[in-house]
């Protein structure tokens, strides 16, 4: 049972990390143009 004391915080931490990453990407505008993002990956000369 002591495993739970470790595992549950780890699970929540990792899940929370994922959530935080999503919220950050949302905030930084990465979900603004999903169609465009699909093409941008194909071009390597990123405009300044």
């Amino acid at each position: 049972m002591t495993a739970l004391a470790w595992l549950i915080p780890i699970v929540l931490f990792l899940g929370g990390l994922g959530l935080a990453a999503f919220l950050w990407s949302l905030k930084s505008g990465q979900f603004e143009d999903l169609d465009g993002a699909a093409y941008r990956i194909l071009t390597d000369d990123e405009p300044k």
């Binding site: 929540l12 899940g15 999903l34 941008r40 300044k48």
Partner: protein, 773 residues
Amino acid sequence: MAQRNTLSELDVMPANASRGVEPPSSSHSKWKAGKRHAAIRSGGEDLIVIAPTGKDAVGDNPRPQTITLAVENMSCGGCMRKVERALLEVSQVVSARANLSARRATVVFVDGQSNAAPLIEALDAAGFRAAELAPETTDNGQKAGRELLGRLATAGFAAANIMLLSVSVWSGSSDPGDPVHTLFHWLSAIIALPAVAYAGQPFFSSAWQALKNRRVNMDVPISLAILLSAFMSLYQTARGSEQVYFDACVTLLFFLLIGRYLDQRVRTRARGAAENLLGLKAQWADVIAADGSLERLPARLIEPGMRIAVSAGERFPADGLIRSGATAVDESLITGETMPRAVGVDDAVYAGAINLGMPVVVEATAAETDTLLSQIARLMETAEQARGRYVRLADRGARFYAPLVHTLAAGSFAGWMISGAGWEASLTIAIAVLIITCPCALALAVPAVQVAASARLFDEGVLLKTADGLERLAETDIAVFDKTGTLTAGIPSLANGSAIDGQILRSAATLAASSRHPYAQAVVAAAKERFGKIQTIAGVEEVAGAGLKFACGNGEERLGSSAWCGIDPERAGQASLWYVRPGLEPVPFQFEDRLREDAAETVAALRCDGYGVQLLSGDRIEAVMAAAKAAGILDWFPAMKPHEKIAHLEALKSQGHRVFMAGDGLNDAPALAAAHASASPSTAADVSQTASDAVFQGAKLWPVVELLRTARQSRTMSFQNFAIAFGYNVLFVPLAMAGLVTPLVAAIAMSTSSIFVTVNALRLRTMVLRPTS
């Protein structure tokens, strides 16, 4: 729309001027954008929108400035790159980023140097049609969407984790006092409470707003169920009891947020597309500077006192007085009247009217209380008030549903108290009733259908603009059309073709074939219809803003405006185009606006669907009668002023009808606002588009039928969804009242009913809609 239009182009215009030029008799299109919006919204107090231009901004605003452009034909990854490269090459540009989903590009300038004109020219050179968007339209609800998505993600995260903990609890030992149970319940509480506090805010604030105004909406029972279940569960956790509903509570929130987010996204997309359309047809004006040079400005930046050169075939970008020159103007967009009006120095002209004759100089005037625009704005304000009182279907449901639910919950609490179950057990049961009846499926019932309907309409080229538009559209039983630009296509065709001698028509068409002016094309089309093929001749000279000439054996043939052909001013008003040849009486060519090709079919389909169809027009009786006859409309009313149109709609309303109105002109805008629901073509004046619930694109009128059928079908499906939600309540509420619902049953029932409702709504996307009635 980007028709090159040489006949009416002034020599002084820049190369890309054709963008602002419009076929003289198409009775709609280019229109100044932001200024008119501002005038309507501020009740006509302040006409000038202050927006960044190169000059204004210097000193005032030292920060980098951004301009958002709508780019019409950017449709692939390659285009996106081309757009960005073209924009970056413009001087003073710091960065440029294209958004392919929104068909927009955002450009950042160095300190205070923003100027849209070179950007648009650069994109024009690269092959893209672009227009600057008014600053107030550039956000377009994306922020609200982002916020909802963040809440949705948080609720989803919490729901998944709590559900996993709950599964462990349910499948573990059944001893209530087990410390692991208690631990898991506390963990659930730690996850659930912050999640509810953050993700539930849209519901809480909406419910609070409603309660403050002494109304009940769907969010009241939702908020109540979420908050009560969260706090009850917290209390039960502290007691170490089994009745813990954190999982149901957060899952409920998650499902509800999905509905809310979808709803928001569809509307944002439609609104963004509608704003792009408006931006792309916003007008430009050639403003004459103090030193006599011409500067091209967006019409919304025109200030009173500016002098504007308006060439033949262009629209007047602002209300004003003519300062030099004399011409005839087509005011069909404003009044619906298709006969041109002759104007001279000091006469007033209105924004949106088309200059049919000679180039003139206009001085822009401030909007005073007696201008046409402010009258229309006033009419619209009063007309829109009635619509503001409309109560949405879901909220109407909530009006009887919320009291019922709360009575049931209170009833079961009282019942169990009386039967001696103790207040804690009674309260638990009462809350179970609230959770079970919490309108999860009910709250999804309407949004899910609306999302499916909007997506379907979006594919058909119809943009649904208002949230409650579909519901109001579904209730209409009488369809009222405007003539010019709505029933008709807005492209001129020769009206008196049969009165013109064949030989003359043929030679006029030979001249006309070398021009791309809409009148010339109409002559060619009429000649082709009569003779088959028309040959072109070399040596035809086109004079911008005037007409065509050709040196023949015994003098000169001319086809063009009355002044160009030297017509007696008294006769000049008879027709828009003349043909002269030595030794021949001048021949007038009159034009009309022909019906959209599927107008009759559309009217027939509407009648088949049980609609009464009427035609209201500001135009002359003969023109309206002819159009009504051709479209198969029996009830038609000519020469209606805007306030008469409203009076007519009011009369219909008092007879118990719910009116659907389709119109495009400025003169229709009050009627569009006064009607129960309305639509306008994408070529309509922007005030009209703003006033209407839906905007349809393309040359056909059929989208109107599609719109109304989809609206009716979505109402049917909303009721089906209500039935599903209601059936589920009938099944589970007795169980809950009997105290038989465990947290597990609540969680399962909640999810399944939501999924049923959503799946049912999705059918609408692909359904084939047949005539109703």
